[in-house]
């Protein structure tokens, strides 16, 4: 609270990011996002990721609904949803989510229902993992900003 942990928090953030990159959860595109963040848009990354989660949440819900339907046959719609998901995932640099989405999409292109279901499972898993990680990251970031914001007039 008194601005003493800035360095430690930054180190934690860096460590978390490094591990996410190492696991392939994130890729360079995420760094692009971070580059875009400046004083005119201080919360850019946070905003983008939040919107991403909102959107993806909807898409995943739709996908699940579609696939749960026994009479299901609209693989094209699944493809469109997945396109969205792939696009935005690659935009924010969520590499693993994107990759599993691509796999999911190829299964949907083949009208492979079990493949699709498995794909959905994997995507959801990856998505939640990413979400948790991002949540942690932003919490750290927020703490860091708070800590860095403490200024002592000399």
């Amino acid at each position: 609270m008194l601005g003493l942990g800035v360095d430690r928090l930054q180190a934690d953030i860096n460590r978390l990011l490094a591990s996410l990159f190492h696991q392939g959860v994130l890729d360079e595109q995420f760094l692009q996002l971070q580059q875009l963040q400046d004083e005119t848009s201080p919360n850019f990354v946070y905003d983008v990721i939040n919107i991403y989660f909102d959107e993806s949440e909807k898409l995943l819900r739709n996908l699940r609904l579609l696939l749960m339907d026994r009479e299901f046959s609209d693989y094209k719609k699944i493809g469109l949803h997945l396109n969205q998901l792939v696009g935005s995932s690659s935009s924010i640099g969520a590499r693993r989510v994107r990759n599993v989405c691509v796999a999911f999409r190829s299964a949907s292109e083949l009208s492979n229902r079990p493949g699709c279901l498995r794909g959905l499972e994997v995507v959801e898993h990856e998505y939640h993992y990413l979400k948790n990680m991002m949540h942690e990251l932003f919490q750290l970031e927020q703490q860091r900003i708070l800590a860095a914001g403490v200024r002592y007039p000399m």
């Binding site: 692009q32 580059q35 875009l36 696009g87």
Partner: protein, 922 residues
């Protein structure tokens, strides 16, 4: 044997007497100091000691002196007494001895008699028994009988010879011998006695004794004084030396005796000692003094001098005794000690001071940390409030709402400002506060301060602003701080004024005296300032009121932190009591002075005088012309030189202007007050002022003409939405466009100068149908359905210095292209409704045919096609860049085949985007 004893006794006695008397010899003082127990033992050592004669004395006069002075005579008397006493003692002892001897002799005689008596009857010597002739026979018989009885048993031989004549003869002979020996011994004793008496007489001749004693005394003195760094002397009443003893004689007898100090030595201290001696002589009282001599003879030395007056028997002063001891080392040591002690004390004081300071600093640090944290905590939510209010101000509001909102924003700003100022105060205190030099217009500042005050006025007060004509239109200073001071003072004045007037008066004064006094100190600073601008002007600002006033005894603590005139006031009027302290510190920081005069129940006047720099006239003359030109064009009253304002509270209305002459003009423009546009750049000179001005200049060079000035002035302060309008109301018909442009730009979250200008210039272009395209930014259209991608791309564009319009699908893209001209289109391939490939095909077909028939065929509803077709330049091929996700469906060949110029593979990166823009935008 007896004899030896006797001599020993005498010796001892002698010594005893000596020991007791001899300190008296030395002097009254030495009496106690010299505790001589066994000078007898020392006698030998004294003999061994070689004593140099250091005494230089006038031998002829010394005895005289001794005879004539009390000291001298008393010493002699002492000696005589002592001798007499000694003699008495000796006589007494001799008498005792004599008595002893007599007694011994008597005893001896008695013994002899006894012996004679004993042996009489046994001796047959006739001479011995003549008297006892008659009894001799009887005696003999008796003796015989007795002898028979006694001797018989013992000595046979003797017994045998007992009766013989030889035996008795022998017996008589031996007895005679014994008698002789006894007589002889008696005679010898008598001889010895007489001899001893004789020697005693010869030994104790008074002169000899005295001389001896004197010698001893002298010897002792020498022994003691041998190495003592002492100078002793006697000087007559003319202070001429009669006697001197010096351990280190450096002068000969004739150099000293009969001369005075002054005649002998030269240099510092001599005169002083002379005077001192004279003083003692006059006062007749012995005293001591330390005198430092600096003479050629022995350099610089300090002497402790004891001087006592000497009287003769008649009680007249005849001179002084003088004793000096060299104490240079001691003095040096003492001084060192004193210095050390002083240093120590100083250090201790410093230490405690330092400790105190450290303590205070720690306290202050803690307080500041808390303050900083608190301010931060307050600032964050407050900026949220203000920010929301600003956003709210961009929405559709009616007049009333907007006015309320404006007050809300300005108040919020003020609180933010105040929080910053509290931080500033601590900065000022720690001396790290930096003042900013910005150009501003004092009249407008005053006006604004009054306006703000009037806006929140709840009493029926009249606020007046009065500015003398000689106050420059523009001056350079830290306008934020000055505004803060004014606001503080005005709100204070209003708080303590229940009816009447509150006002601000500005006038130019000559350089105040306190500055001239400090001129030397501040000289360098002044020079620096003078290096920047040519002239500086002192402006005196009075903030007066007709309020309750301040009692005189409260004036001194008025400017102290957290202090208010009285506890009652604090309860009644509230406030932190920080305001005036901040004001004073700020004023002083800016090199000015804040003073107050007040009368209870008549009102107070706070006066601060500050130096301002006046920019060179050519610096802002252009600017000035523009404004006046503009004012002429708009046929508005030019109030830059207006010197009088008046504000009265109109209940229900936020702003009021009761100023004669302008109220009529003013009211119609009140509509304008609701506009979020701030028209006057100098009005609130915020930190962005300078950059704003430079941008304005740059844009002017870029070819903007008259109208553009309005645009730039409106764009000058992007956050102008919450700024007050200055009152003269430069109102014009394009108001609404400017407003909407501002709204458009604020949509993006951050306000961009370029974007605003681009949009507005575009609108200008539309309206005026003039071609200013080459100066404007290229227009880019992004066609993309994915929100995330839009955000990212937009942000990237922003970083690259561009803005762009967004279309969410192919249909929107076509509509946008139809209604506006773009320099570049970024097209996502995979989109709902109409994908990128199809949309591109349609656009290309439009470029070729000049109509949207293909599009209409494809089901795209183009409503304004008839109107806008003319505006299009079908010959120009619009660059369309595809954004592909590199999937099978989005191959590059397909892109090219559908009329796209290039493609960027997703995800888009800054680098790719930059390259693309470089290629297609010139």
């Amino acid at each position: 044997m007896v004899c030896e004893m006797e001599t020993d006794q005498i010796e001892e006695m002698d010594v005893e007497v000596l020991s007791s008397m001899w300190p008296e010899d030395v002097g009254t003082e030495a009496d106690k100091q010299f505790n001589v127990e066994k000078p007898a033992g020392d006698l030998d050592t004294l003999k061994e000691v070689t004593i140099e004669t250091r005494t230089i004395a006038d031998m002829t006069r010394l005895p005289n002196l001794l005879n004539s002075t009390h000291q001298g005579s008393s010493q002699l008397t002492n000696l005589v007494k002592q001798w007499e006493y000694m003699q008495d003692n000796a006589v007494r002892l001799l008498k005792e001895e004599l008595k002893n001897l007599d007694r011994q002799r008597e005893e001896a005689e008695a013994k002899e008699l006894k012996i004679i008596e004993e042996y009489k009857f046994e001796s047959n010597e006739p001479e011995n028994v003549p008297v006892l002739d008659e009894t001799s026979d009887l005696f003999r018989r008796f003796r015989q009988k007795k002898r028979d009885a006694l001797v018989d048993s013992k000595k046979i031989e003797i017994y045998e010879e007992f009766d013989t004549v030889a035996y008795w003869k022998q017996k008589a002979l031996s007895l005679e011998k014994m008698l002789e020996a006894s007589t002889e011994r008696e005679r010898r004793l008598m001889e010895k006695l007489s001899e001893s008496l004789k020697t005693m007489e010869s030994q104790s001749a008074p002169v000899q004794e005295l001389t001896q004693n004197l010698k001893r005394a002298e010897g002792f003195l020498h022994f003691i004084l041998q190495n003592a760094p002492i100078v002793m002397g006697h000087q007559d009443k003319d202070l001429r030396y009669l006697f001197i003893y010096n351990k280190y004689p450096s002068l000969r007898e004739q150099d000293i005796l009969g001369k005075t100090d002054v005649e002998i030595f030269h240099g510092g201290g001599v005169k002083e000692s002379e005077d001192f001696k004279r003083e003692v002589l006059e006062k007749g009282k012995a005293s001591k003094r330390e005198i430092t001599f600096t003479t050629d003879l022995f350099g610089s030395k300090t002497f402790l001098i004891y001087v006592e007056p000497v009287y003769n028997k008649a009680g007249e002063k005849i001179g002084i005794n003088y004793m000096g001891m060299e104490v240079t080392d001691q003095v040096v040591k003492r001084e060192k000690m004193a210095k050390l002690r002083e240093d120590n004390a100083v250090r201790k004081a410093m230490e405690s001071e330092l400790n105190k300071t450290i303590h205070i600093t720690e306290e202050t640090m803690r307080a500041k940390q808390m303050l900083a944290t608190m301010s931060h905590e307050i600032r964050s939510p407050l900026s949220g409030v203000v920010g929301m209010a600003e956003i709210l101000s961009t929405t559709k509001l009616d007049k009333e709402q907007r006015q309320l909102l404006n007050v809300m924003i300005s108040s919020g700003d003020l609180v933010l400002q105040l929080i910053n100022d509290i931080l500033d105060l601590s900065k000022v205190e720690s001396g790290v506060m930096r003042l900013e030099a910005t150009k501003f217009r004092p009249r407008e500042v005053v006006k604004h301060v009054l306006q703000t005050a009037a806006a929140s006025l709840k009493k029926s007060l009249t606020l007046e602003g009065n500015i003398a004509d000689d106050v420059p239109i523009e001056v350079v200073g830290d306008v934020l701080r000055i505004r803060q001071i004014l606001t503080n003072l005005i709100s204070n004045a209003i708080k303590f004024t229940h009816e009447g007037n509150v006002g601000i008066k500005l006038q130019v004064i000559s350089e105040p005296s306190f500055v001239r006094d400090n001129a030397l100190n501040a000289d360098t600073e002044e020079h620096e300032q003078n290096g920047l601008t040519e002239t500086s002007v002192w402006i005196c600002c009075d903030v007066w009121d007709t309020g309750i006033g301040i009692p005189e005894n409260a004036l001194p603590c008025l400017f102290k932190k957290y202090m208010q005139a009285s506890a009652d006031h604090a309860r009644k009027y509230g406030g932190t009591g920080l305001g005036l302290a901040i004001c004073k510190q700020l004023v002083e920081l800016m090199g000015g002075q804040l003073t107050v005069t007040s009368r209870v129940s008549e009102g107070s006047t706070f006066t601060f005088i500050l130096p301002y720099k006046v920019g060179r006239s050519d610096d802002y003359s252009d600017d000035q012309d523009e404004f006046s030109d503009m004012a002429d064009q708009q046929s508005e009253p030019d109030d830059t030189a207006e010197g009088y304002f008046q504000f009265k509270p109109l209940l229900g209305s936020i702003y009021s202007n009761g100023g004669p002459g302008i109220s009529n003009d003013f009211l119609p423009h009140k509509v304008m007050l609701t506009s979020p546009i701030k028209l006057i750049n100098g009005f609130v000179a915020d930190p962005s002022n300078n950059t704003g001005q430079s941008e304005m200049l740059q844009l002017e060079n870029g070819g903007y003409m008259d109208e553009s000035k309005l645009e730039t002035s409106s764009g000058h302060c992007p956050e102008s939405a919450h700024q007050y309008e200055n009152g003269n109301g430069r109102c014009f018909s394009k108001e609404s466009e400017s407003c909407s442009s501002s709204q458009a730009s604020s949509e993006g979250g951050t306000l961009e100068m370029e974007s605003e200008l681009t949009v507005s210039s575009h609108r200008e272009e539309e309206k005026a149908e003039t071609e200013v395209k080459e100066t404007s930014k290229p227009k880019i259209l992004l066609v993309e359905d994915n929100k995330i991608n839009i955000m990212v791309a937009k942000s990237m564009m922003k970083q690259l210095g561009h803005t762009m319009d967004i279309a969410n699908n192919g249909v929107e893209a076509i509509t946008a292209i139809n209604s506006s001209s773009y320099d570049l289109v970024l097209m996502d391939v995979c989109m709902p409704v109409l994908d990128g490939l199809k949309a591109t095909r349609l656009i290309r077909s439009y470029e070729e045919t000049g109509n949207w028939n293909a599009a209409i065929e494809a089901g795209v509803d183009i409503s304004t096609s008839e109107n806008e077709q003319v505006c299009m330049r079908p010959t120009n091929r619009l660059p369309i860049i595809a954004m592909t996700a590199n999937t099978l469906a989005e191959s590059s060949e397909e892109c090219y085949a559908n009329g796209m110029d290039s493609f960027i593979s997703k995800p888009v990166t800054l680098q790719k985007l930059r390259e693309c823009l470089q290629q297609y935008l010139h």
